[in-house]
């Protein structure tokens, strides 16, 4: 009599057998495909000893209100063991608007800190040793002026641009697909990324100017295979842009890092990351001729994943965070950050952020997850799944090129967006009809739930404070210098030369983000969103 067993098909479309065995690894070239950690193709990890030598970096996303409040939260996290910062900017800042702009009404300091000028950046990092603590700036459409502010601030503190370490997210193509903080049309937006990569290659060689994000596309509905495939299609395009500028691949491509999501099926996620490392090594070496192993190493933050967390039974999200952290650690991430348990409600309270930090710390200190590199290597299931994931990633990348005409066309015309939205719809249908199980949502529900979630308060006054502070900064400026610097931005935007030097000039005069962005909007125009459902 045959036993009845569940059908299991992963989100990526891969069917899962109940038992895997040695036969599933027959024909796998262990030396070539699995290999050694720290060696091509880096399936097992990009470093020889990984966490045995140094644990993953913990970098919780933080920022809200005024730069002073954000500075306090930074210090709170550092005091509690966080060893790197990831800066959250408010939506007006992300969209290149000053706090007083009518479009900023109601949004100042809400989802991140309000930055209008270099002065705000200086306050945000007061008494924080930016030469010792790595800072990641989650900024995209206006990455160029914000990076310029960061470099200018470092300069004022005696740190030469050539010595500045840190990262900027600066991945505009994913914004059009899954995050929405775009401003300019695709071409000039990508030009700006080219300018930042070129500038950093020549002037800030320790800085990582681009972090390509599969994360947000996954959050928007992409399945794990698509998350990597679309991110790699985007990264490939940025590399092509760099090469067109005359840069050598080994001079800049190794400082493109990645930002990936960690929610979903446990082993599918781990296999995703191992396959992603192997695939990136192949792309950089075989397609772009990279010779330096550093270029071939896929460096990532594997974090999140908000998409898996729920509004129902919020304490469950603490546990989900722990499971996702395990995924990330077993996948050999370089940096980790977790969405906090109040993710579905608000930006994190101190308490929620602390729980996330402790989750990661317990993993390192108590669980032995970092004692040996890639402990799941050789697993019949994991290796088999890794191979299958890689094959599907390659196929999906091919689809982008052959069916959609390449990532730039696909994004400009809304084809990726449509695919992702339809995936999201199918997923939601699955949750609503109960075929996809979510604890607390459609299984193990509590109809009468007491949700005791302290909400991070939004201080209404801080918008006024931001506006007042910027007015004070403006009152103290040399307006002749500001006007000249802004004229320089306009001239360079039109001429097509690298905008970073004129950005640096402008931010040093305390030109505002809004003043700079207005000029760019005037020259470049704004993106016409292709809404196709």
């Amino acid at each position: 009599m045959t036993k009845k067993i569940r059908d299991v098909v992963l989100e990526s479309g891969i069917p899962v057998k109940p038992v895997y065995g040695p036969e599933d690894l027959a024909g796998v070239d262990v030396a070539q495909e699995i290999g050694q950690p720290g060696e091509y193709p880096f399936t097992r990890g990009i470093h020889e000893n990984m966490y045995r030598e140094r644990p993953f970096t913990m970098r919780q996303y933080a920022g809200f209100g005024t730069p002073t409040e954000t500075n306090e939260r930074f210090k709170f996290l550092i005091d509690n063991g966080q060893n790197a910062l990831n800066v959250a900017f408010d939506l007006p800042t992300q969209m290149g608007l000053d706090s007083h702009d009518p479009l900023a009404e109601g949004e100042v300091g809400r989802v991140g800190m309000a930055v209008d000028t270099l002065a705000d950046m200086e306050v945000a990092f007061a008494n924080i040793p930016i030469d010792k603590i790595s800072v990641s700036l989650t900024i995209n459409a206006v990455a160029a002026p914000i990076m310029a502010m960061y470099f200018a601030m470092a300069e004022k503190r005696g740190i030469a641009t050539s010595q500045v370490r840190g990262t900027a997210q600066n991945d505009i193509l994913k914004e059009y697909v899954g995050r929405g903080a775009w401003i300019f049309p695709v071409e000039p937006a990508v030009r700006l990324i080219g300018d930042t990569m070129e500038f950093c290659a020549h002037n800030a060689p320790k800085y990582y100017p681009v972090s390509v994000c599969g994360y947000h596309m996954r959050e928007a509905g992409a399945n794990p295979v698509q998350e990597i495939a679309y991110a790699y299609a985007i990264a490939r395009h940025y590399i092509q842009v760099g090469l067109e500028r005359g840069l050598q691949v080994d001079d800049f491509a190794g400082r493109i890092s990645f930002n990936f999501d960690i929610f979903g099926n446990f082993f599918e996620q781990i296999a995703k990351f191992r396959a992603a490392r192997r695939l990136w090594a192949k792309i950089t070496r075989d397609e772009f001729g990279a010779q330096n192993p550093r270029t071939m190493k896929m460096k990532m933050i594997a974090g999140g994943g908000g998409g898996g967390l729920t509004i129902e039974q919020p304490e469950n999200n603490i546990v989900r965070g722990a499971y996702y952290a395990m995924i990330s650690a077993l996948s050999g991430t370089q940096t980790m950050a977790l969405c906090s348990y109040d993710e579905a409600y608000t930006i994190p309270t101190e308490k929620a952020a602390l729980i996330s930090l402790r989750t990661m710390q317990m993993l390192i200190e108590e669980m032995g997850v970092g004692d040996t590199v890639d402990p799941l290597a050789g697993s019949y299931y994991v290796e088999s799944l890794t191979n299958e994931m890689e094959a599907r990633m390659v196929a999906e990348m091919k689809r982008v090129d052959e069916e959609w005409g390449g990532i730039v066309k696909a994004v400009s015309e809304g084809m990726v967006q449509r695919e992702v939205a339809h995936q999201a719809y199918r997923h939601e249908q699955g949750v609503q009809n109960g075929t996809i199980h979510k604890v607390g949502v459609n299984v193990h529900r509590q109809e009468e739930e007491e949700r005791d979630v302290a909400l991070h308060p939004y201080r209404v006054e801080q918008a006024e404070e931001s506006i007042r502070r910027t007015a004070e900064v403006k009152a103290g400026r040399d307006e002749v210098a500001v006007a000249a610097a802004l004229a320089g931005v306009r001239k360079t935007a039109v001429s097509g030369q690298n905008l970073m030097p004129s950005m640096m000039n402008a931010v040093r005069t305390y030109a505002t983000l809004g003043e700079i962005t207005s000029i760019l909007k005037d020259v470049f125009g704004t993106f016409q969103e292709p809404v196709r459902l």
Binding site: P92, E105, G106, E107, R179, I311, A344, A421, Q432, E529
Partner: protein, 136 residues
């Protein structure tokens, strides 16, 4: 009698770029037989109302994930009043804390659909609201 197809505007007002929910709801309502127009991102309240007028919609659905739902909705309701669009029902969805629902209802919002709301419920509320408004 010709069955009037319910026209819904799914709008993303303000600067928030999270549109997964809005797109998913748009697809669900379309599959339920409604005519759905999606505004795209970064709409001002004026633009939303303008589009609602031009497209002659029965329902305006606001999707807000940034937490700015109270100021944005307040502005929209005031603008609808100025345009004398009393027949247009307003729904609000997104990251809406329970404690804000009464305030939204007081503003004249027909229903609030926080994350996790069911398609069936949205369709039922829309059909009931529009049905009762177009009854002669």
């Amino acid at each position: 009698m010709i069955q009037h197809k319910i026209r819904v505007l799914v709008a993303k007002p303000g600067l928030d770029g999270h549109d997964r929910g809005a797109k998913v709801v748009a697809l669900a309502l379309r599959n339920a037989g409604m005519e759905v127009i999606h505004t795209g991102l970064h709409q001002t309240v004026d633009q939303v109302v303008e589009t609602g007028l031009q497209e002659d919609v029965d329902v305006i659905g606001l999707s807000i994930l940034s937490g700015a739902h109270l100021p944005i909705t307040k502005k929209l309701m005031a603008r609808l009043k100025v345009e004398e669009m009393d027949d247009t029902a307003v729904l609000v969805g997104g990251n809406i804390p329970e404690r804000d629902i009464p305030a939204l209802q007081e503003m004249g919002v027909t229903a609030v659909f926080p994350t996790g709301s069911q398609f069936e419920e949205m369709v039922a509320v829309i059909e009931e609201t529009v049905g009762s408004r177009t009854e002669v």
